[in-house]
């Protein structure tokens, strides 16, 4: 593969960024600033504290999913089961969140565990079973959806304790889902930049054979990535259930695609090894701002889908062009 050297003289790569994605991040930051400024000019309601919090709340679920799937995309894999795992974790959590039955941490933990288990199965099928990630997680997409329907009996699981529903509420004026996203993102950013396992995730995605020849247990690294991704999808499912105060077996359809879109807009390469959580967060933010802006501009939701699709492809196209 020919690697034309990047042409940015005097570039200083920050110590924590593995592959100098600053240029790409810079591009998306410019895009964000331009869009936010125009929205602020065009609609009076955009640049208000209330709307800012609103946008943050709207991106929190997609953000958590996107951070999780960043791990998998960095190893060069993909996870299509996220939306179904969200639904499964939601109904599992809701089932154990009836008032007066268990302390609130039980449904939360079980939801995350359900997601993590799905992720671990994905990881095993990919590494041990040597099934292509696309196929393995496509299978899980259907299996997890079916499990969600089985657990819930096909009906929404409502009647949850106020303690649990509080998870979708506010803390000191900030939505708790936003705090959770912040925690997950900060933790993942630190983890990928500062731990051995984090480095191995990049190495496996960059050149799997070389990573193996360097003594890295490639299978375990991938298994970790899928499990972490599944657990975060589980967390997203728990938060979603709390927000809508029900475990919906039909929730989360096509969520995985939005999450992958956010990661890719954020500059993470689908072939692995390049990118990171910072970009993912910006990608999720960009998608959220555009959705919110179109709402404020009273654009019909039919058109919103068209715009979103164009943005996803356009952002990646621009990114490729900048890199050349």
């Amino acid at each position: 593969m020919p690697c034309p050297p990047e042409t940015s003289p005097g570039r200083r790569v920050p110590p924590l960024a593995s592959v100098g994605p600053w240029l790409q991040r810079f591009g998306i930051v410019v895009g964000l600033v331009v869009i936010c400024t125009s929205l602020a000019v065009m609609t009076p309601n955009f640049a208000t504290p209330g709307n800012t919090i609103n946008v943050a709340r709207q991106i929190s679920i997609n953000g958590i999913l996107a951070v999780g799937v960043t791990y998998v995309l960095l190893t060069g894999g993909v996870d299509l089961s996220l939306g179904s795992v969200v639904a499964l974790a939601g109904v599992v959590a809701a089932t154990f969140a009836r008032p007066g039955e268990y302390p609130v941490f039980v449904p939360i933990l079980l939801g995350i565990l359900a997601g993590g288990a799905c992720g671990a199965v994905n990881g095993l099928v990919v590494t041990w079973g040597r099934v292509a990630p696309f196929i393995a997680t496509l299978g899980m997409m259907t299996v997890a959806r079916g499990l969600a329907l089985v657990v819930s009996g096909g009906r929404p699981v409502s009647n949850m304790s106020p303690d649990f529903a509080q998870l979708g509420g506010d803390l000191a004026g900030v939505p708790i889902p936003v705090l959770i996203l912040g925690g997950v993102a900060a933790g993942s950013w630190w983890f990928l930049a500062n731990t051995r396992l984090g480095r191995y995730v990049y190495a496996v995605g960059g050149n799997e054979n070389a990573a193996r020849a360097a003594g890295i247990a490639v299978g375990r690294v991938k298994l970790f990535a899928y499990t972490a991704c599944g657990a975060m999808a589980g967390l997203a499912g728990v938060v979603l259930a709390a927000r809508i105060t029900a475990g919906q077996p039909n929730a989360g359809i096509a969520y995985e695609l939005d999450a992958i879109a956010a990661v890719v807009i954020g500059g993470t390469s689908l072939s692995g090894g390049v990118g990171g959580v910072g970009g993912t967060l910006l990608g999720a933010l960009l998608m959220g701002v555009i959705n919110n802006g179109l709402d404020l501009l009273n654009v019909s939701s039919y058109y919103q889908q068209i715009v979103k699709g164009c943005i996803i492809v356009g952002a990646v196209w621009l990114d490729r062009r900048n890199k050349q």
């Binding site: 593995s18 592959v19 051995r196 984090g198 480095r199 050149n207 054979n209 070389a210």
Partner: protein, 526 residues
């Protein structure tokens, strides 16, 4: 007379070409004239700018300044496609055929003879055309065979035939003999000669001195991105050429390391290594670092047995496909052996993956830098520390300062030329990339070091450095296994030489008492 017949107007004239990457001047005001019917060797250490210059001609890079004239007319080459249209073809270092298509399909790729209606491909015409082109080269390659079943040399021939089919007048070959051996090289030289006599201009990049004088009529030397000299090959000899390449006169290549090794051998004879001199231990009691008994893997090698001692360089010689790399891969766990035993310090060990081998103190510099060596997306620093990241960690957390210090130590120790340790490793020259792989392997402090073709595709200066490193490893008491297809190299550096043939050990020779001819005699299939 304004023009001498020997020097017609150049077919292609690259004038004052400059090109910079990330502030590094890769080419600085370089000119090159290619004439019809001439093989023009382009020489220089890695990083001298040879490949960049060729990529400019092939339309992969556009020059910052300077111009390219074809038949005296100025042209802009913006893409490989345009280069092809102008009659410039590049045979890449890493060949890019389509493995599942047949020879005939690959030769005619992009110009398939097809019916006007619906574009149905006329298979017979396709085979005839491919056969005609291969015939022009005097080559015999089965037309219906799939590319993946061919040898590297045959693939090269197919690529050249493909270039011919596009009416290429200028053929650029980047180290075409790097991955082929013996009679295949001869066949390639015949093809090149045919091509030349048909009036093509050929640029030939190589690191092998003997080849230059065999095939080239003109030699251009680049150094640090600048043009150093262009001379008729007849006016040069090996020493003068190396002098031009490195900018200083060199003693014959192996002098330093061989002297070291000779004095080392003498020292060892007089005074055995300290570990074996303990009074109670007979010399045989200390177990050898690595012994292999009856090792085999179906279809690759059989019944391979040998030992490597402390402070010894064991050379493995043989033709391509003799099973040398496969034995190394088995020892390092990349492709585990099926039967036989590996004993490390006398104890049998099971090696099923590289991590197992590393735990046993085995390190390997793999043959295939791109495939099994480097992670191109990581920085120089991260590549150096990848195999021993644990040493730079407190628990699971990477200590960045400790890691930087370790990487910097490696960069200094092996003279890796890089702007900073944070530079992406893919931007380094081949020789420096190889030194990164060596630095990574040795950072784990292995007792047994396997080097598989450690000097392939790297320049003269880097080669000398690698020879020095090998001598130093032996001096430090490591057991070294050296695989090399360059016989002078493996003869000069080894203490003992095993010759492999068709997956078996054919002979054990004393390098100081043998000749290249004798080694080849054992290596050739009977």
């Amino acid at each position: 007379m304004p023009q001498v017949p020997q020097s017609p107007v150049p077919l292609l004239d690259a004038v004052n070409i400059s090109k910079a990457f990330a502030g590094v001047q890769a080419l600085d005001d370089v000119s090159l004239a290619l004439r019809a019917g001439e093989v023009h060797a382009l020489m220089g250490e890695n990083g001298a700018g040879k490949s960049t210059l060729m990529r400019v001609l092939a339309g992969l890079h556009s020059p910052d300044t300077g111009e390219i004239r074809l038949h005296g007319r100025r042209v802009a080459i913006r893409s490989p496609h345009e280069a092809m249209r102008l009659g410039i073809a590049m045979i890449h270092q890493e060949l890019m055929p389509i493995p599942d298509l047949t020879v005939a399909e690959n030769v005619t790729l992009g110009r398939e003879p097809a019916s006007r209606l619906l574009g149905r491909i006329d298979r017979r015409a396709q085979r005839e055309e491919a056969g005609r082109l291969l015939g022009l080269l005097g080559a015999d390659v089965p037309l219906r065979r799939r590319m993946r079943d061919l040898s590297v040399a045959q693939m090269q021939t197919v690529e050249i035939a493909k270039a011919l089919g596009c009416n290429a007048r200028i053929v650029i070959m980047d180290e075409p003999t790097a991955a082929i051996s013996g009679h295949e090289v001869e066949a390639l030289f015949r093809v090149i000669d045919t091509l030349r006599r048909q009036g093509a201009a050929i640029v030939y990049i190589t690191h092998r001195m003997d080849e230059v004088f065999r095939v080239a009529q003109t030699v251009t030397v680049l150094r640090d991105g600048r043009h150093v000299a262009t001379r008729p090959a007849g006016e040069l000899d090996e020493e003068r050429l190396i002098g031009l390449m490195v900018g200083r006169e060199l003693k014959p290549m192996f002098a330093a390391s061989v002297e070291d090794k000779e004095s080392e051998k003498g020292r060892r004879r007089q005074q055995p290594p300290p570990a074996t001199t303990r009074p109670d231990d007979a010399a045989e009691v200390e177990p050898v670092p690595l012994a292999v008994r009856g090792l085999g893997r179906a279809g690759a090698f059989h019944d391979v047995s040998f030992e490597v001692r402390r402070g010894e360089v064991l050379g493995l010689a043989g033709l391509m496909g003799a099973g040398r790399t496969e034995v190394a891969e088995a020892l390092f766990g990349l492709k585990p052996a099926h039967c036989g035993a590996i004993l490390v310090r006398g104890k049998p060990v099971r090696i099923r993956r590289p991590a197992d081998a590393m735990r046993c103190g085995i390190g390997m510099v793999t043959e295939d830098r791109k495939g099994y060596g480097l992670v191109p997306t990581l920085s120089v620093r991260q590549n150096i520390t990848l195999a021993s990241l644990r040493a730079c960690c407190a628990g699971p957390v990477v200590r960045h300062r400790r890691e930087a210090a370790a990487a910097t130590a490696g960069i200094r120790r092996f003279h890796i030329r890089t702007a900073t340790d944070r530079q992406p490793v893919g931007q380094l020259s081949g020789g420096n990339q190889q030194k990164v792989v060596i630095a990574r392997t040795l950072m784990a402090e292995p007792n047994i070091v396997i080097l598989d073709e450690p000097t392939r595709g790297i320049d003269v200066g880097a080669k000398r450095e690698v020879y020095g490193i090998i001598a130093r490893l032996a001096r430090e008491g490591k057991a070294v296994i050296l695989i090399s297809s360059e016989l002078p190299e493996v003869l000069a550096l080894s203490d003992r030489l095993l010759v492999m043939r068709q997956g078996r050990v054919a002979a054990e020779l004393d390098p100081s008492g043998t000749s290249q001819e004798e080694v080849l005699k054992h290596a050739m299939p009977a």
